[in-house]
Amino acid sequence: MTLDLFLQHLSNGISLGSLYALIAIGYTMVYGILRLINFAHGDIFMMATYFAFFGIATFQIPWFITFPLVLVLTAALGMGVEAVAYRPLRDAPKISLLISAIGASFFLENLTIVLFGGVPKPFPAPKLFTDVVQVGTVAIQKLTFYIPVVTILALLGLGYLINRTKTGMAMRAVSMDYETAQVMGININRTIAFTFGLGSLLAAVGGIMWGMKFPQIQPLMGVIPGLKCFIAAVIGGIGNIAGAVIGGFILGIGEIMLVAFLPNLTGYRDAFAFVLLILILMSKPTGILGEKTAEKV
């Protein structure tokens, strides 16, 4: 393998890893607060690509207006899912919550099939992003470079929000100790809703870029990336945002390299994440950055 080719794979891996990271953050934040796998998160990501599709292709709205709109709509959708499917179950046993999450995911997928049809649609990526540049002997889409940049910007914004603002402090407090936070006068429901909104917004950022990178969208497109990103979050240490980012990159780069170096195993690409997950859970169940917590007896 030439150096050029390797660099091409690496840049692909990094941009895929960035996308995984953006989606994984949503899982990890929600898990941090509710101890819940938000199974619908992958579908919220999918919906974001449809919003973008309708904005640009159907309503002919320019991309620089469409994209912010998509972020807002997706955040609202995430908060809506929380209000309908999770909020009524705050005191219910965990298994009910998980089943509700599965139901919500299932519902969004099927609703998309009914409303928009099951046939894949071409994602109308603005030419600005899909242009190709020549690097050495290989051609790489500009997008491949934009994705990590956008991701880093989004992460910086997130870091500021969580560490420097009052809302961010409330989020951290709630995820550390739900009940105490409530006693301290933090509005739990609003904080949780905000967390869902924020996670969904990042998923939307990921979704738009995903749509441009893999320009075919369909109702079930969120299922596998959703599962993988949850896995990324677990690998990094669930509840830990930096962990989710690390997990996302490990998964993205690992997946691309697997296919690049062991082309025989291309068919097993989707199994890679799960094998990695099981290996991690066996060796360090709390993930790379997770802390061990002893159960109180």
Binding site: E291, K292, A294, V297
Partner: protein, 258 residues
Amino acid sequence: MSLLKIQDVTMNFGGLTALRNFHLELAPGEIVGLIGPNGAGKTTVFNIITGVYEPTHGRVFFLEREITGLRPDLITKAGIARTFQNIRLFKGLSVLENVLVANHLHLKANYLAAVFKLPGYRREERRMREKALALLERVGLLELRDEQAGALPYGLQRRLEIARALATEPKLLLLDEPAAGMNPKEAADLTAFIKAIQAEFGLTVFLIEHHMDVVMNISERIYVLDYGMTIASGKPAEVQNNQRVIEAYLGVNEDAED
């Protein structure tokens, strides 16, 4: 011969040392108390004996056999049973079922014999039931055998938890704050009850308790923990007059604990 021997046990949780260089020896047939302010590491001692935690350092022997780091179920099989500080009954199961579950460890028939109700299993199941009912009668819960365990009043839940522990046929019984939340009358009843079963079942009893009346009255010896260290041990009267114990409880030169 000692029944239980804890040798120089230390337990760290991250940066926190819950228990430091702890030594203990129990002789068969004793009733021994373990006291100390909240957060002193008392329950940690129980969790180490029963295998819930593996100590960072040190060893535990039961009947001269090392049990350090053994799985909890194997330790129970070896003859140590316990109750929990925050009652942990099988709430959705009936009173009788709670006791029957504790009999399961003696079952010899395998699951196929159980599923196809082979004669050997039937015989064992019948004997288990008889034993469980006899035990419930002994502790005065026979009438309530079909009630849901979670629906019992608090005091009876405590009693059921002891019955359930007895059903495993232990040699050593660990009671974690058995009198918690009881009024003096109930606590006195409990003291009598513990003494009675101790004699009847030939048990050694090791108990954590905050009710001083109960501990002082029931224990032949007492260990006192503070900040994970043993600060005193001996006869109740000796411990009661120990200066360090008094300080630990009154919190001289220390901020009061929660």
